[in-house]
Symmetry: C2
Subunit: 561 residues, 2 copies
């Protein structure tokens, strides 16, 4: 296509509300336009990218034997009441009434609708396993939509759901989807990692997230430096450790006036935070409990939630009611249950609160303290990998996919049963599999940009090649050469953009770089004097002179690489 046939409203400045680079660049490159908070229109270049992502996703889902369906955006409340989520789901679920006053929601996800469909149409075990997917508009009423299409209210998801007779069959499809997702993200040209994840509010038994690695990622993910182990930081599980040290010190109470944080205490006493033990008091449905962790570790709220159910940190009043002194709480002489993190219980000669104002203990040890042990903490860089191979590295990632084993949460609530081999009704077992299609674009940009703009992976670039002729409107020679090369590219099936504007070369270069088109061919009278064109790859800094007659073959070779 030619640039003048397209609306590509590039701009130099990013809007004020664009905090992250993908948001800034998507607006600046004219891929999207903000309609309202969390609502974006995709402009022609944005749609080209979107269609490419969608088409790769569809091809691989089809290959995996998943059947494409299309369910409504609008969902009746009754189904969500059946699953129990009408009440459970927070205000992100946009609820509304139709003109007759009936309740509906705009679907943030489609478990209810697909399970309802399966209950209607899948009746025999012989039909199983079966999986369905759709590429569809979702809505989530985010309280603070931000980061452009990364956390918008309306977005496009590929969501898929599978139905099975048993767990073994689910595991098979789950593994196939894991492979399929790897193929999809490979083809999209992204540097990503599948990681063990928590299955969160969707419920269910096993799940993996697919993260695009990028410094701006919202999530922390942990890898082994020696094995395939990878998990969301929330999900890294630690086991009970052997005590390898010996208590040597003599316990003493020391004055630590106004030193209430681990940082202050460790600095004041010149002891590493890993030699300090901190005690948190939490309030659970069973009353107050004390949790002890190493000073350099953080409580993992998901692990705590799994152990204690709903909980919160105790208030100052509640701490006081136990006779404890905030900032100086220790592990000795507590009147409530004490649970010690596996890494904390193996420390010897540690520092902890003395349970007296302005006093800490030094040289403390666990002897004589009554406690149980548990895995309570987040991983930190350098931890031993839970698979016993190597140490953990922590990187930031952007979640672009998520696969879950749902079990029978929905199929039980919504009566998705089949007649089993024995003639008895069996509740189906489900999996679900999502990819944030619009999010993939933002994540690809977060991972691939420089100070001049986007560097799109080839598979999702809006065009493969841009031809930039200098003085297209003044030099007949340049125009003829450019038109001819453009025609050659079109006939070879190359997605090529001819910049036929009457703009200065600098503006055309800047726009093509901002847009991230992978290959650029420049035509000018100067190059033509030597029978050449100038080639530059978007992700390389050097330029090449290539003979005009070889230009097509050259670019075809580049595209084949």
């Amino acid at each position: 296509m030619k640039t003048t046939q397209l609306l590509i409203p590039t701009q130099k400045e990013a809007p004020n509300d664009a905090q992250i680079i993908s948001h800034q660049l998507m607006i600046r490159a004219g891929l999207i336009s903000k309609l309202a908070s969390g609502l974006y229109s995709y402009l022609p270049m944005g749609v080209r990218i979107l269609k490419k992502v969608e088409s790769i996703v569809r091809e691989e889902m089809d290959k995996a034997g998943s059947q494409e369906v299309l369910m409504p955006v609008t969902q009746p409340a009754e189904l969500w009441q059946e699953s129990g989520r009408w009440q459970e789901y927070g205000p992100e679920l946009l609820r509304f009434n139709d003109r007759h006053g009936r309740e509906f929601c705009m679907g943030p996800t489609h478990e209810e609708v697909i399970t309802h469909l399966a209950a209607q149409y899948i009746r025999s075990y012989k039909q199983l396993p079966m999986s369905f997917y759709q590429v569809q508009t979702k809505f989530r009423d985010e309280i603070r939509p931000r980061f452009g299409v990364m956390r918008s209210r309306e977005f496009i998801m590929k969501d898929a759901y599978s139905f099975h007779l048993d767990q073994a069959s689910l595991q098979q499809t789950y593994d196939l989807m894991h492979q399929t997702y790897c193929k999809i993200f490979d083809r999209l040209g992204l540097d990503y990692r599948p990681v063990l994840a928590d299955s969160g509010s969707i419920g269910g038994d096993a799940s993996h997230e697919f993260h695009v690695l990028a410094d701006s990622g919202e999530d922390e993910i942990c890898f082994s430096n020696e094995s395939d182990y990878a998990a969301n930081i929330e999900k890294v599980a630690f086991s009970k450790q052997e005590v390898t040290c010996h208590a040597q010190a003599v316990e003493e109470s020391v004055l630590t006036k106004k030193k209430t944080s681990i940082e202050q205490v460790s600095e004041f006493l010149n002891v590493a935070p890993s030699q300090c033990i901190k005690t948190l008091i939490i309030k659970t449905s069973e009353g107050l409990k004390a949790l002890a962790l190493r000073g350099d570790h953080e409580l993992n709220e998901i692990k705590a939630h799994n152990l204690f159910g709903e909980f919160e940190l105790a208030s100052d009043e509640e701490i006081k009611s136990l006779g404890l002194k905030k900032g100086f709480i220790g592990v000795k002489g507590l009147s409530i249950e004490l649970i010690v993190d596996y890494s904390a219980s193996v420390v010897c000669d540690f520092v902890c609160g003395a349970n007296e104002w302005d006093q800490h203990l030094t040289g403390a040890n666990w002897q004589g303290v009554e406690f149980s042990e548990a895995d309570l903490r987040n991983a930190v860089a350098g931890d031993d990998s839970p698979d016993g191979k190597g140490q953990l590295i922590i990187k930031r990632g952007i979640e672009v996919g998520h696969i879950f084993q749902l079990g029978d949460k929905y199929s039980k609530a919504m009566n998705s049963n089949v007649i089993g081999e024995s003639g008895k009704a069996v509740t189906t077992t489900m999996g679900c599999y999502g990819i944030g299609v619009t999010r993939v674009i933002a994540a690809a940009i977060e991972q691939n940009y420089d100070d001049r703009g986007i560097i799109f992976p080839e598979a999702i670039a809006p065009f493969q090649v841009v031809i930039v002729p200098i003085n297209y409107n003044k030099s007949t020679r340049v125009k003829t050469l450019a038109d001819n090369l453009y025609q050659q590219c079109l006939e070879a099936g190359i997605e090529v953009l001819l910049d036929n504007r009457k703009e200065r070369a600098g503006i055309m270069f800047a726009d093509s770089e901002l847009l991230g088109i992978p290959h650029r061919m420049v035509l000018s009278d100067t190059h033509a004097d030597n029978g050449n064109i100038e080639y530059k790859a978007r992700n390389q800094s050097d330029k090449l002179e290539v003979s005009y007659d070889d230009a097509l073959a050259f670019i075809q070779e580049k595209l084949a690489e």
Copy 2:
């Protein structure tokens, strides 16, 4: 693909709420599934059809130089307030509040959003003309959703919008879109007509509807039997006629006791309805008016609306207040303005009410009656075509497309201006162009079915070819032959379905006919004994024996036809 890999939940009975054949067949063939009133999920076969329609639409829109965009389903109230439609639009516009209480609607159409985009990004006349389209989910909160996807609440539209410097440029794009729509409906394999239409509530100056001809159509459309003239019945315009008769009769008042309708009077007096004149009293913002039409003609409410603005039929009280007698109102001696339809004003020696109870006049004539003339009526079959060529035929149609010249209704209200050649701001002129993508499927079925099911046009059939092997699971020979032919078809790029179920032949035949797959190849031991397969086209009744070895070549020839 193989039938066992797909969910194709065919059923013998149609649901009770399915009144029209396309709704019945789409449910029975397992193309769609009802989720709630006016909300349908597309099952795998339905999605295959949908994608084919979408892809033809996209290809032709791209060829016409229109740029694909994607705007949100959710639209902020502010834009609709700017255009004035927030108040104007009825309860079909689904309005809701987000979690912060801000007002939004689910878009039934996107004039506001696209005009807002154009106002932001199209700034110079040099960028014009420019047109945009999207294939997108719309919502219209129908009071009584019915007819399946024909009048559902959520549906998919291809909507397009064009921006111009002047009317001449709009006309050019409008004509191009007219041609593009013809190409689209040609490729879809539909028998359709573009007809002149009223532009309705969208506003604007000129419009055409594209109707698929089908007896079940909601609209009546008129064609000349001798020319290209075609128009929605509401839009057929008549001109003033010459009087060609002479008043010969003597006017008499006759007793017509309790004969209050044209049918009763014409039968009682043995006079054709076309020789009777009926008088309607309407209430307008300027007071009561009398309208006279021929007894065999109906008032065209749109024409009346264009002449008189909002109006309604006068109440019994209002008729009484004029001293008139309902059922016996005539054209003589009225105290209010009388407007006579062009076809009524040229009748001589007619029958009309006598303005007395139980009395009509016979042999009445217009001499001495004060009136003005206007085009007030709907066309009837046999009317002279307004272009002077031939007579009108009336058929029923289903509206699947609509193109409008919008003028500056939206661009003016929403400040879509460009800097013109002279340096001054010019308001853009707009066109808009819609195709009901999901509606096209229902319309195609209304036009193509028989008592066994759907007869899909080749371009949108879910599969091109179905292979039905008899005893696939028992006869190794049949299985080998079928698998081999299936493989040949796949390798030749044919979209083929292999019915590999353990079902009786009758069920497999019935399902393939219900689904409307254009070409069927049957393999059985009997046919194999002769080295043959049996071929049947869905739209033909005869079966052919074809040599197995020639089967692929044969089917390729059929597909090329």
